[in-house]
């Protein structure tokens, strides 16, 4: 059975319906990306999956004993709470120091265990959050705008790493992102959300769907192609390509959708 299944789920905040009639499932080993403009209910969608919001109607079912590794969009730390990276990794279940060390190495931030969480840079913080999520041995990894605060090459590398993790661990990955071009190329399936599921399918299919274009314009399709092309190459060249691609994005897009996409990227 699927790891998580949403059947005809609607969620309301007060009188506002945030999600309506959403059907969704994710299976073991899949990478699924949810894209959508601001206020399209992406975060609510993730919160429904972890059980933080109760749907007004419909049903959310999770596989028995499902382990979720959740990487939140941000984690505001109160300055009065002292906590080292090592201690943070042991929440809520205590892990052995060696396990913490290897998780940090896997997230490409070794040797941070003794540092205060509040002293980390934005990129380091995201990777520590990823390390913590990995320590749960998740069946499903949830990433909510996980590359906020990373620059373009940094986030491209981050997503490539997510792909590698799926290969090694076989866990499913569900991510929410504004960075359409980078994210979509790594996905098996893309869901375009705008209060409801506008369209879904393989990245190429979604990128050319009229519903998607109505939301994001046509500019990103070219970027997608560029990034696809990048994929055939050696990883050492990733930086240059990511850079090219960022420029391509600007060149391709006609002004209005580009502004919207950039707005969304914030």
């Amino acid at each position: 059975m699927s790891l998580v299944q949403l059947e005809d789920v609607s969620v309301a905040h007060g009188r506002n319906t945030v999600l309506s009639h959403v059907n969704f499932r994710i299976d073991r080993g899949e990478i699924v990306t949810v894209v959508g403009p601001n206020g399209s209910g992406k975060s609510t969608f993730l919160r429904a999956i972890i059980g933080a919001v109760r749907p007004a109607r419909g049903r959310v079912s999770r596989a028995k004993g499902l382990r979720i590794g959740y990487v939140p969009q941000k984690l505001p730390l109160d300055p009065t709470l002292p906590i080292t990276v090592g201690r943070f990794l042991s929440l809520p279940t205590r892990v052995a120091p060696e396990a913490a060390k290897s998780a940090l190495a896997e997230a490409e931030v070794p040797d941070l265990a003794g540092r205060q969480m509040s002293d980390l840079s934005g990129g380091q913080f995201q990777r520590v959050l990823l390390a913590r999520a990995l320590l749960a041995q998740p069946d499903l990894l949830l990433l909510d705008e996980a590359t906020q605060g990373l620059d373009q090459p940094g986030s491209a590398r981050f997503y490539r790493q997510i792909e590698a993790l799926r290969q090694e661990r076989g866990c499913a990955v569900l991510m929410v992102s504004h960075e359409l071009h980078v994210v979509m190329s790594a996905s098996d399936r893309v869901i375009c959300l705008n209060g409801h599921v506008c369209c879904e399918g393989q990245p190429e299919h979604v990128a050319s769907a009229p519903e998607y274009r109505a939301l994001f314009g046509t500019g990103t399709q070219g970027a997608l192609a560029l990034y696809r092309h990048d994929h055939d190459h050696d990883h050492d060249h990733a930086h240059d390509h990511a850079h090219d691609h960022a420029q391509g994005h600007h060149d391709h897009a006609d002004p209005a959708p580009a502004a919207q996409a950039q707005e969304a990227a914030r």
Partner: protein, 267 residues
Amino acid sequence: MTLLDDFMVRAALAGLGVALAAAPLGSFVVWRRMAYFGDATAHAGILGVALALAMSVPIFAGALVLALAMALGATALAGRGFAMDTMLGVLAHSALAFGLVAVSFLPSVRIDLMGYLFGDILAVSKTDLAVIWIGAGLVLALLAWRWSALLTATLGEDLAYSCGINPARERLVLTLALALVVAVAIKVVGVLLIAAMLVIPPATARVFSSTPEGMVLRAGVCGAVAAVGGLRLAFLLDTPAGPTIVCLAAVLFLVAYLIRGVLPARA
């Protein structure tokens, strides 16, 4: 039990019991920015005292019930879109005012009012001591049991949900612990200064701590030093014990921040 016949020993043990229970709970109060919430809960205690005296039930029970009612009520209202600090301001001070007015209807206890507002640690009986230590033990056991879940929920509610922890349940645990501490601390520092015993030692401990557990341990030490030292000072200077304990805690806080200002910043 001859040692317990000495009122100073009983007072010191009472202060220690409250300081130990207040350390972990106070740390959460600080981390979750619940200082005002603690105030409101404590102030409701005086109304509980008045009702307990009127109905001839134990003061501890009256204070516990009212503190719990206040904490639960405030939590419920907070979920309905009221501005938390305004609402707590209304609740805290009206509970205090109604409590004071209610006490004035009981002619026989008018004289004891100061004892409930600022504590009467030197008058702690063996029974009081037993209540304080059982209450403190319950709070410590409750927080130790839920420690990891509480800490996760404090870091982020969604993070907690993703780990299968219900943050609302953990909030309830803290609410319950807070009401217990209020009820046992009335005799020691009184309703007006309970929030000080919750907030000041952890705030002092923050300076020298790098983990949550380290902060709780140091807060316990600060609280214990303030309780025992404050008691001693009150005896020497002939000052009211509860306020003196809080004064010493405040001085420790000041010293800690001065020391940090002198020490080179940690890397």
